[in-house]
Amino acid sequence: MRNYFAIVCKELYGFFVSPIAYAVLGVFFAVSGYFFFGITTSLIERVQQMGFQSQQFGSAPPPVDVFSAIMSSFFSVISTIFLLLMPLITMGVFAEEKKRGTVELLFTSPLTHLQLILGKFTAVMVFLLVMLVPTILNLCLLYFYSDPLPPLSPVLNGFLGAFLLGGSLLSLGIFASSLTESQIVAGILSFGFFIILWVVDWMAGTGSTLANEVLRYLSIMNHYEDFTRGVLDTSHVFFYLSLIFIGLFLTSVSLNSPKWRS
């Protein structure tokens, strides 16, 4: 347990002094804030227009759930930003240790691979939280101006979805980082993994053959949509948890391979 916490702290300290981490945070806040503003204002404009139109025709304005619409667009945008930014967070996780030779310290210390991998994964998950938590501010704004108060469940589901999706991407990214000693190569590999998992359902035909079903099931974004709509479906949670497990498991396989330590 001490070893695990030591790794978590060391990794977090690494983020704390890393220009990459600050750049990722800065870009994420700027872009997500910008999109939040854009989504909100454009939706409100549309609703107002619809209000005018229905007044002209003398009918009652159609009921629009502005809040849910904002939530779902906002969390979709976040998922796209994640695809682009997560590789930057994980690319150095093992590659840098290898490049600097600090693996020699880690692997000759009485540490288990489990402690090492979970420690590193926990640290990037904490970083993910640091990214996500400030976006709550955006939502607070919405709550402040909404009347009546919108329900909380779409927000919670959205965050849970973002957290799980982020976790899966981070776990796969850590695996990519364990495959090479070059951060850049690790980053490119993670992009590759993500893009494949993103578009894998495009390859699925229209029929409902087993292969098509599998391809559709593997698509990471399909499982995300329900979260953005405020629906909690445990099968999606299960999907992401499995993905996280697979990523970490593959990392441990990769660390155990004799090729790795030369």
């Binding site: 070893n3 002094v17 600097r100 030779g101 330590r261």
Partner: protein
Amino acid sequence: MIEVEHLTKRYGLLAAIEDVSFQVRQGEILGFLGPNGAGKTTTMRILAGFFPATEGRAVVAGYDVFEHPLEAKSRVGYLPESPPLYTEMTVDSYLRFVATIKGVAGAETPDRMEIVKDRCGLAGQGERLIKHLSKGYRQRVGLAQALIHDPDVLILDEPTIGLDPRQIIEFRELIGSLRGEHTIILSTHILPEVSMTCDRVIIISRGRIVAVDSPRNLTSRMQGGEQIDLTVGGDGSRVNELLGGLPHVTRVAVEEAGNGLSSVLVEADGQAEVRHAVARQVIRGGLDLYELKVRSVSLEDVFVELTTEEETSEGTFREGEDPDREGEAAS
């Protein structure tokens, strides 16, 4: 303290080390000497538990490094060829991290940190960022890291490489000051280093052990007899007749050295002391004795001899070996 039996490590077809066996007693400083690419780093990494051997057994501080890796690792301090530093950390935070993962109890950590910093000449450097330290100081941090958990066994891979001459001397003294407290294995391709610090030397070449002995014994073993250098004044032509008949003397060679002096090389079979007989004979013969000195074969000669012998007797390259790799191994 360390027992290595029939250790072999292969990278594909290339055997980095082959059938390496040796023992190190408690408190001993063992020098691991060999040219670049000989397999020093490979052996040390196996002992430190970094990777497993292809074949063979290694027991360190009473634990088999493959069967009980955690127990063995917690008793070994390892300084790799390039010190494994997190350069963005301060010396203190780095040592604290290493102490934790090496299993030093939380309450003891501050004391251990002070002790190793004192030991390694890092007192007062605790707050400095490692990236701001010079190469010599980084090496000290590397050694401090290896000592932090007071390990039974210390493994140092070319600890003086890349240091300037002054730093090398300081670092050797540092290692010497650890004598007796830890069992130390130290690798190097620099010869004087082993004769200065080590109790025993293993010479390794192309992955095989070619000699194991104390630095002194290795030297005299190679001599296969004794060689004595003389400088005499007077009629040099008489030297041969004076000394040639002495018992145990096998050869006498005389050379003009100018200023009426001659330099003489006397070779003896090494069965008995001949220096006093040689000196007496020269004086008795009416010559002046200016200098008499036993020529010692340097470890350097031993090393060259042993490693080249191996090369000529075993053919050029072993199967699957690529000569170009040797340069890479150094980097």
